[in-house]
């Protein structure tokens, strides 16, 4: 944890007022969309937990469906935590395991093929994850980590074609989950509530047509530390309100910073906030326990990620729109 004590996105945050505002606007959004409630895919993490809590506050528990969508590589306790959350909120909940669908679509086969480009002797029972290089503000290099049956880990750089193949395969998980969210939304005439927080939305940490697809995104303007404050304010179960963010996508435990952000969320919140507020790197540095040049690098990476992920945010281009 960093030694941040003065102003920042969490210190000046009023969770009660924010909850009132988000609940009111969520109710307005669902009404304007002409839907009768909201579907929220709950992963057991704090973001989806808070979105479910906001939807329940906005629409009432009878108008919120919490979908639990477990999958082979996700943490085994995630669905149970989701059930605990839905029960605590009094919302409806359904479990739809997606492993068989992913098997039939070839998700795991495609993933294994990609991994064998880097580790030819890889077997499907080896656990694995993707990790990024240390943030420099410049080039990010991705490596694959595998855990061999004897418990030893090995890390090798991923060639771009293998990286894309692996990512395309793992993105099938988020897209399959979204298919089921819209299936239930159609069935109940509900809207789909997405769960990206400010860091994820701003930096493009989502799958286009997967977790990036939704009818409303209640916490896309909320910093991660603020999301935790909302979770406490909502009285969410401790298993959700204090759960550390993971990707829950690869079979080895993987934090969001080692895959994408490069810094823990507490630092990332402040770096993003400092960048937004124009705080000079030398001034922010001691508050995030980094050197000024590391803050400069983080600012550069924030800007470059925005440019690099513009495609993920872009709506379909109407090539020849009607006048």
């Amino acid at each position: 944890m960093t030694s941040i004590t003065s102003t920042g996105p969490v210190e000046s945050f009023d969770p009660a007022a924010c909850l009132d505002r988000l609940a009111s606007r969520t109710a307005d959004a669902v009404r304007e969309l002409g839907r009768g409630g909201a579907v929220v895919a709950i992963s057991g993490g704090v973001d989806s937990g808070v979105v479910a809590g906001i939807c329940v506050r906005a629409l009432g528990p009878d108008h919120v469906l919490c979908l639990r969508l477990p999958e082979r590589d996700a943490a085994s306790e995630s669905s149970d935590i989701g059930l605990e959350l839905a029960n605590a909120l009094g919302a409806k909940t359904v479990e739809e395991p997606i492993t068989e669908a992913l098997e039939a679509l070839g998700c795991y086969r495609r993933r294994d093929d990609a991994i064998r480009r880097v580790f030819p002797d890889y077997e499907p029972d080896w656990r694995h994850k993707l990790v990024r290089s240390r943030p420099t503000g410049g080039v990010i290099v991705f490596s694959l980590v595998v855990e061999r049956p004897d418990g030893t880990e090995e890390q090798r750089r991923m060639p771009p074609d293998a990286y894309r193949e692996l990512l395309a395969a793992s993105n099938m998980k988020q897209r399959t989950r979204k298919l089921l969210e819209y299936t239930w939304a159609d069935r109940l005439s509900y809207a789909v509530a997405g769960t990206p927080n400010l860091l994820e939305y701003d930096q493009g940490f989502f799958v286009k047509g997967g977790d990036g697809l939704a009818d409303l995104k209640p916490i896309a303007g909320v910093y991660k530390g603020q999301v935790y404050a909302l979770a406490r304010r909502l009285g969410l179960p401790d298993s959700v309100a204090s759960r550390y963010p993971t990707t829950d996508t690869f079979s080895l435990p993987q934090t969001q910073e080692e895959f994408f952000f490069g810094h823990p969320y507490e630092q990332m919140d402040l770096l993003m906030w400092g960048h937004q507020e124009g705080v000079p790197p030398a001034e922010l540095a001691p508050r995030v326990s980094l050197e000024a040049n590391e803050v400069e690098a983080a600012y550069r990476e924030i800007e470059r990620k925005r440019v690099a992920t513009e495609y993920l945010h872009a709506p379909a281009v109407l090539v020849d729109p009607a006048d």
């Binding site: 290089s133 420099t136 410049g138 080039v139 990010i140 290099v141 991705f142 490596s143 750089r157 991923m158 060639p159 771009p160 990286y163 894309r164 470059r304 440019v307 690099a308």
Partner: protein, 88 residues
């Protein structure tokens, strides 16, 4: 400028034009232009460049060498490859 130097420039320019500029006829790339600043090559593109340099010139490249200083422009790549060859 040595023949080797000009070959590296020619090879890298051809690779970059074919792989990163085929839909960017508006970009006129000079040997000193910064790929990242111009937005024509992202991080994954850098690793593609690295793979190309590794296989074309039979050079082993460590992760820590994948930087803008070494791969950020045609000039940078040329200098990097020449340095590697001289050290071999």
């Amino acid at each position: 400028m040595t023949d080797g130097n000009s070959d590296i420039r020619k090879d890298m320019r051809a690779f970059i034009e074919e792989n990163f500029l085929y839909l960017r006829p508006d970009v006129e790339l000079s040997d000193g232009d910064d790929f990242l600043a111009l937005g024509i090559i992202d991080s994954l593109g850098f690793v593609e460049l690295v793979e190309e340099v590794q296989s074309r010139y039979a050079i082993a490249i460590d992760d820590v060498e994948i930087t803008e200083e070494n791969f950020g422009s045609i000039d940078a790549i040329t200098g990097f490859v020449e340095g590697k060859r001289a050290a071999a």
